[in-house]
Amino acid sequence: MTALSRHAGALVLFGAAAVVPLVVRDAFFLDSLVLILLWGALSAAWNLAGGYAGQVSIGHASFFGIGAYAGAIMVTRFHQGPWLGMLLGVAISIVAGLVLGFLSNRLKGPYFALSTIALSQVLLIAVSRWRGFTAGGEGIPVPFRPGFATLGLGHVAWVYLALAVAILYYGAEMYLERSRIGYQLAGVREDEDAAEAIGIATRKLKVIAITVSAALTSVCGTLWAQYIGFVDPAYVFSVDLSVRFALNSIIGGLGTALGPYLGSILITLLETYLRATFSGLKTGFTGLYLVIYGAALILVVRWVREGLTGIAARLRVRMAGGARGARAHA
């Protein structure tokens, strides 16, 4: 496969995202685009631990929340720029990531997943109750101050910022896939005992993957808080959010660089469509769209088990199969 065809999906996707703001000025559309890119990047960050290293976390909202709060508190309480908050968030997330990495070496599968939820719940409760510093359950409104240093940007600028992050994470994972560490991680994911037996430092690798994943999640958390302009613990540390990061990757394709973005497009569009069509205002039933969303989730997870990228790969093999198969059998 040539480099071009390997990146074809990403080129189309990111290319479209780069061109759209030049043509479309509709705020709702641009807002959806920013969120698709941010959710995609967040899911790509999760994918590093959950997909590449096989350490499925349902507590990544911990790092998202740390990033969001670090930015918001830095701006409102210490009157510094959000970029400094982002750095602080990354530092704290690295520590929390090390804790999770330690847990990943003690626990596997559902036990690890449960421990990650517990971590996010501990943070949720701590931030909700520590009113004096975090403003508790009420949350913090983040003031809008125009300028790049304060991240007070218009919709178009936000699209490009989110796009830059998305491309950066995509590129990092593309590079990882072909690197020595990438292959070692695949070994850890597929068979940890076998990987250890051939001399791969599995424990260290898992900790590194989880910690880097935590730091990348935290960065997006800070960006998200500055973009939305409001943080509250019940949302930023919620299990729903953690599930969302994981879900995008699983639907898009676990352990693939493009998968999280495909999943993000599908889930975000599905959610937006359902919310618009079956909203409480239109149907008179609050929550009806979530009933359909829940049902769709069950079906999608069951039928798209290998992810969208997996399906695409199979189709490609089938299409190329005629020519190649003939040669192979000759």
């Binding site: 499925v56 349902i58 847990l103 003690r106 626990l107 596997k108 599968g109 559902p110 036990y111 690890f112 997943a113 449960l114 421990s115 939820i117 517990a118 971590l119 719940q121 501990v122 409760i125 701590a126 109750r129 599930v243 994981a246 879900l247 699983i250 676990l254 039933f285 609050t286 929550g287 009806l288 979530l290 009933v291 969303y293 829940g294 049902a295 769709a296 989730l297 069950i298 997870v301 069951r302 088990r305």
Partner: protein
């Protein structure tokens, strides 16, 4: 409390009250958790929708009390078979297809189910907080300086009776033995000619029947709303891991420990902080005794 101060009558009463509260709370948590420990232990499925069945049980109690004035504790006779059927139906429609799939697929399937059920309740009955107030809720019992109400005691007695009945069922009936065998080694059980699909179907139905009954029992003690199950489901996982998965007697002890942590934590640090203690306890147990306090066999296949 100042530890240097001698224990006067007031302190002794407080300790007795905390002890009684712990036991009453623990009994109810046990019934919620036994269903989960069955499903988690035997089917190896992390059921995130477990709390939603509890919530449905609470609504059943609420509506039958509000519409027909039926006491929640009589509704149990309807609730247990009804939730058994709901469990069977859920297994056939949702769980059967993912039982052989990866943990990821199972986790996200039950999470979807949880969103679905929560919002079905929201659409059908709105997000209002509802209350069930039967006469026995206002009957206070005072024994030896401790006070509690009749509802708590009845809920406790029924919950413990049901839990013990389940334990007896698992221990002494053939079906129970078959279920335990499947929990310990799925492959060996299949080789011995056990129909695992039937075991899973039964396990899920029994687990849901137990949690549905628990929902009916706790309805007078907590407010009823669409996401009421959430606070119980994570707590139940603490109990299940503490007790060892699939170990029902362990779940009983685990429930008492969690209840003690909750009661003592809210007494000393205030009610707002109570949850943080059992999550910290949870992480500690996972780190130091992941196979449960008593080391349940078969848990290593789940990554303990």
């Amino acid at each position: 409390m100042d530890p240097a101060r001698p224990l006067g009558p007031a302190q002794i009463d407080a300790v007795a009250q905390l002890g009684v509260s712990t036991i009453l709370l623990g009994g109810i948590y046990a019934l919620i958790a036994v269903g989960l420990t069955l499903i988690f232990g035997i089917m190896r499925v992390v059921n995130f929708a477990h709390g939603e069945f509890l919530m449905l049980g609470m609504y059943l109690a609420f509506w039958s009390f509000t519409l027909w004035g039926v006491d929640p504790y009589f509704i149990l006779f309807v609730a247990i078979p009804l939730f058994f059927l709901i469990g069977l139906l859920t297994y056939v429609l949702v769980m059967k297809g993912v039982i052989a799939a990866s943990h990821n697929v199972q986790i996200f399937t039950t999470f979807g189910l949880s969103i679905l059920l929560q919002n079905v309740a929201l659409v059908a009955w709105s997000g209002d907080f509802r209350f069930v107030r039967p006469w026995h809720l206002s009957v206070a019992l005072r024994i030896g300086g401790t006070t509690f109400n009749l509802s708590q005691v009845v809920a406790f007695v029924i919950a413990v009776a049901l839990t013990i009945a389940l334990i007896a069922f698992m221990k002494w009936t053939h079906t129970g033995r078959v279920m335990r065998a499947t929990a310990q080694d799925r492959d060996a059980a299949t080789l011995m000619g056990i129909d695992t699909d039937r075991v899973y179907r039964l396990t899920f139905a029994i687990g849901i029947a137990a949690v549905g009954a628990a929902g009916v029992l706790v309805a007078p003690l907590y407010s009823v709303y669409p996401t009421a199950g959430l606070q119980f489901v994570l707590l139940s996982y603490v109990v299940v891991v503490l007790g060892g998965l699939g170990d029902m007697a362990g779940a009983l002890i685990g429930s008492l420990i969690v209840a003690a942590v909750e009661v003592a934590g809210s007494y000393v640090f205030g009610i707002a902080w109570k949850e943080i203690f059992y999550f910290l306890l949870f992480i500690l147990v996972l780190v130091f005794r992941p196979a449960g306090l008593f080391g349940q066999r078969g848990s290593e296949t789940l990554g303990a």
